[in-house]
Symmetry: C2
Subunit: 172 residues, 2 copies
C-alpha cells in the first residue's frame, strides 16, 4: 500500500485553506488541508507494523512547537502549485529529518519546503491570475504542532488516516 | 466544534464501498468509507481534552474483534440511505455502549444499526433502481476492528481525524 505522513493544521487554518482549495486544488476532495512530512512511500503490512514503534518513539521525543505563516508562495516553474509557506522552523526540520533517516527511507527528492497547498494543476492563465492576487496578501497565521498522522491511499486517490502520533503521549 | 467517532474498515472494503459511493453518495468527498460509532456531537477544546483519556481507556479495555458483512440494506422509508449491513456483534455493541455512557452523552436517537453507507440523498427513482440491484447481491466481507478515530468537522462539511485510539496500545 501507499502511505504518507502529514500534519493537519488547526480547523481555523484548514477552513481558510479550503476556501481556496475548493476552487483551485484538484486534490480538494482527496485529503484535508495538510502539511506533508513524508511523501507517499510503498510499504507492506509487516513493514508498516515495524515502522509504527519508530513513529511512536519520534513522537515521544518531540515537544509541541509553533509554526507561523505570513505569505503565499509557489513552486513555479517546476509546477503551478500555490501554497501557504511555513516559515523556517528548526523543530519542523528536525521532525522531517527523523522521518527520512534510520528505519525510514531517505526518499526526499529535494530539500524540505514546508507548505500547505492552496492550488494545483491550474492552467497557466488561471495560475497567473490566482498567484498574482494571492502573493500580495499578508497572512498572520500560527499553529501549534503536537502530532502527526500516518495515512494510506485508497484506489480512488483519497487518503485515510491509519494512526495518529501525539507528541509525548505514545505508549512504546 | 463538531466531533464524531468512526471506524475506517480495511482498504479492500473502503475501495469496494467507494465504487458505489462515487456515484451514489452525496458525502463521498467529505469522509472515507466508515462505520459511525458516535454521531456528531458538539464539544469545546476543554471537553474534548477531558474525553481523550476516556477514549484511551475504552480502547485499552477493548480486544480486537471481527466484523462480517453479507448483505446490503436500507433505512427506507426513514431515509433513502443504502448501506452494507454489519452483522450483529456483541463486541461492537459493547464498544458503542461505552461511547454513549459515563462521560459520553447518550445522544443515540435510535438503536445502533452498524453499517457502512453506500448511497444517500438519492431521488426516489434512483434509490429504487440502485437498491433493487444491490439487495440481490451476496457479500462475504470481513474485517478486524482494532481501533477507532475521533474526527472533527470543517466548515465545508468534511471530516478531519484528530486522534486514533488503538485497542490495547494507548498510554493512559
Amino acid at each position: 500500500m501507499k502511505y504518507g505522513i502529514a500534519y493537519f493544521p488547526s480547523k481555523q487554518i484548514q477552513d481558510e485553506v479550503n476556501s481556496y482549495r475548493k476552487r483551485y486544488d484538484s486534490h480538494y476532495a482527496l485529503i484535508p488541508p495538510h502539511l506533508t512530512l513524508k511523501e507517499s512511500f510503498t510499504a507492506d503490512d509487516a513493514e508498516i507494523e515495524s515502522l509504527i514503534p519508530e513513529l511512536k518513539k519520534i513522537a515521544n521525543e518531540t515537544d509541541p512547537f509553533n509554526i507561523t505563516i505570513n505569505k503565499v508562495s509557489s513552486f513555479a516553474p517546476i509546477s503551478n502549485t500555490i501554497y501557504l509557506k511555513i516559515n523556517p522552523s528548526p523543530e519542523l526540520q528536525t521532525l522531517f529529518d527523523k522521518l527520512h533517516s534510520g528505519k525510514f527511507s531517505d526518499d526526499a527528492d529535494h530539500p524540505f519546503v514546508p507548505h500547505i497547498t492552496l492550488a494545483q494543476d491550474l492552467v497557466d492563465q488561471e495560475y497567473s491570475d490566482v498567484f498574482g492576487s494571492l502573493k500580495m496578501k499578508k497572512y498572520d497565521l500560527g499553529d501549534e504542532v503536537d502530532r502527526f498522522q500516518l495515512l494510506y491511499q485508497l484506489d480512488n486517490g483519497s487518503w485515510t488516516v491509519y494512526e495518529t502520533f501525539v507528541f509525548g503521549k505514545e505508549f512504546v
